[in-house]
């Protein structure tokens, strides 16, 4: 089945990227232009989405092709537990299937995407990236530029253990997954507090801000475009708009112009009560966690509550660390593994993605002592033995089970919202409170 043409993301008030008939030889013309220095005369066309889906062979032939391949998995390297899981559990399992899995730690998923985009501009088909841990706007942007291989994930044998109707798995921040990435784990945006400092924790987002104003200097959030800071702003947008039902999931400039002034106004009003008077923010969630660990603030937040279990006994976070569940629920999402269209070892990458979905791997990964990432599998579809293994997983003393965290879960906004809100925050909040 042919893949629908990638949607080009348009933003009102910005330039319109009109679609272009494919320019054959665009890259060689570009190279020649660069070499003679006559750049301004020509201009170089972007590589259009020239990756067409080939028909996938049988799973047996893919497995055979994968033998001996080396798969480079580019993933955010800021979580030691995640790194250890991939190195000590997933990689040995891949080796048994004849695939060597190499983990490439990166500071931000955008680095992997940028690498793939640069490889596409250079016309390479033996790229350095074979598999990326991705979701949301990075996935959507990559799809728009043809950076991802498509039509493969629905063919993975282990997809039969997932619920085909699960909205978290069929759409990634409003972008149809369409076989272009395979699910890895689920996550829930979570606020975290120190119960020794906050005896009566707030139970709604609005109350969290009131608490912050009553306790100046004890609260802050990472500066968007940091992933966590960005989701905090989206969560607050839901709150000031009277619930997620009032914010259209698909980006709409009118809705943006109507809804966001209230949000910016609320955040500007909050700013003087923030850590350092809101004039500066922690650069990322790691920096915020550090402030929380040092006792400079009483709350932190994360889109991956799994890591909390390990941080408390380690002594990084105080033993009185607790998760704050909100009455209105919080934003939830799933994260995925995607294969770049520039990857030469895509058969190996598919084998690894399939392995990552295997019930055994998902169960080990869900163990809070290993990584504690919530499974994407539908437990009712598992064989009885695997189902009971999931039921026997130890509970984290800090993080409530997924069912509790995900109660009243709010859907994510479509990925077009994300950069618009990030940029809006910079201009309307950060620049204004200086």
């Amino acid at each position: 089945m042919p893949r629908p043409r990638p949607r080009h993301r348009l933003r009102a008030g910005r330039r319109d990227w009109s679609t272009l008939p494919r320019l054959r030889g665009g890259r060689s013309r570009c190279a020649a232009a660069l070499a003679v220095g006559a750049f301004l005369a020509s201009g170089c066309a972007a590589p259009t989405s020239d990756f067409s889906d080939e028909t996938l062979g049988s799973w047996a032939s893919i497995r055979a092709e994968a033998r001996g391949q080396t798969v480079s998995l580019w993933m955010w390297g800021g979580d030691p537990q995640g790194n250890a899981y991939v190195d000590d559990v997933l990689a040995p399992a891949a080796r048994q299937a004849g695939v060597s899995l190499r983990r490439v730690p990166i500071a931000d998923t955008k680095e992997a995407l940028n690498r793939v985009l640069a490889e596409r501009q250079a016309g390479r088909s033996d790229g350095a990236v074979d598999l990326v841990w991705v979701n949301g706007d990075n996935f959507a942007t990559g799809l728009q530029t043809g950076a991802w291989r498509c039509g493969w994930s629905s063919a993975l044998p282990n997809m039969r253990f997932t619920d085909p109707a699960d909205p978290l798995l069929t759409e990634d921040f409003g972008t149809k997954v369409d076989g272009c990435e395979s699910p890895w784990h689920k996550a829930q945006f979570t606020l975290v507090y120190d119960s020794a400092k906050i005896t009566e924790p707030p139970t709604t987002m609005a109350a969290v801000l009131e608490w912050a104003e009553a306790n100046p200097g004890r609260f802050t959030y990472p500066a968007p475009p940091d992933f966590t800071g960005s989701v905090f702003v989206r969560q607050l947008l839901y709150s000031v708009s009277g619930g997620h039902h009032n914010v259209p999931a698909d980006f709409d400039q009118d809705a943006f112009d109507t809804l966001t002034p209230v949000l910016w106004e609320r955040l500007r009003a909050l700013a003087p009560s923030l850590w350092r008077g809101g004039k500066t923010h922690p650069r990322d969630s790691v920096a915020l966690d550090k402030l929380f660990a040092e006792g400079q603030v009483d709350m932190t937040m994360t889109y991956g509550p799994a890591t909390l279990t390990e941080l408390v006994p380690q002594g990084t976070f105080p033993p009185t660390t607790r998760v704050l569940t909100l009455e209105e629920g919080t934003v939830g999402n799933a994260s995925f593994l995607a294969i770049p269209s520039t990857s030469a070892d895509h058969a190996g990458a598919m084998v690894v993605a399939n392995l990552a979905l295997a019930p055994r791997q998902q169960r080990i990964k869900a163990d809070p002592r290993v990584w504690g990432q919530f499974t994407v599998l539908d437990e009712t579809r598992l064989p009885p033995r695997q189902r009971s293994a999931f039921a026997d997983l130890p509970h984290s003393p800090v993080v409530p089970p997924y069912a509790d965290l995900a109660r009243n879960a709010n859907p994510e906004l479509s990925s077009e919202w994300v950069p618009a809100l990030d940029e809006g925050w910079r201009r309307n909040v950060l620049a204004q409170v200086q």
Partner: protein, 283 residues
Amino acid sequence: MTPRTHTWSWRGTVAVAPAVLAVLFVICAGLGGTLLQSVGLMPLVGAPRLSFAGYLHAGDELLTATGLSLLIASASTLVAALVGLTSALVLVGSRSGKVLSGLVTASIPVPHLVGAASVGLLLADTGLVARWLGVPAQAWPSLVAGRWPTAVIFEYAWKESAFVALVVSVTLAMRLPDYHETAAVLGAGPWARLRHVSLPLAAPSLLAASAVAFVYTLGSYEVAWLLGAVYPEPLPVMSYRLFTSTDLTARPEAMAVAVTTAALSGAAALAALALLRRLAAWR
């Protein structure tokens, strides 16, 4: 005798050709590609079309970033030049020069990233200095990630002063002792020797080293990223943030910021060269 320097030789041309070609390739392909992307002629998506929207949209933030970058580069270069020159003069004049020069130049092999991390550990509000002095985090001035780029300037000044000291002291060491002796024989006191011998001799290398430090600081990313505030941000940090934005229309903006940085660096280098030619000791 005719001067030999102006005779053209094809063998000479051939000999330098690989180096010139490599430099031309890097400058033309790198800067040219950046320039093309900044004016919309090499888009990631869609048709190439000449447009200055990248520059216009970056607008006021580009101005703020330029101001901050120039502030960081000028302040750290000034401090580095003063400290470096003083160290070089002390070095050349002292008897235990080797030990001293070892101490002064010890920081040169330290990477900027390590230097920045160390400065952060020292000067942050929960850093070592604040703890040693027993100052609570709230009362400590925001040297790291604060309103003013204090820690950023401190780090660059510290690293670059060693570089300036090394370059200046090497120049001085070759010529200064003889000149000093001559001047002393002619009756010049220490102050006159400093003013009329040491400083003019040091000036060209001081200027050249400062220019290198200035241009480096202007284009460097990691120190300002680690130690600076999220707002305002200097040019390289702004450029990289826009470059890694998932909004593809931000790419021309990122390149516009990069072109601005390159233009400023080029202008600074040209100004330094022009100034250098006018210095007496250079001729």
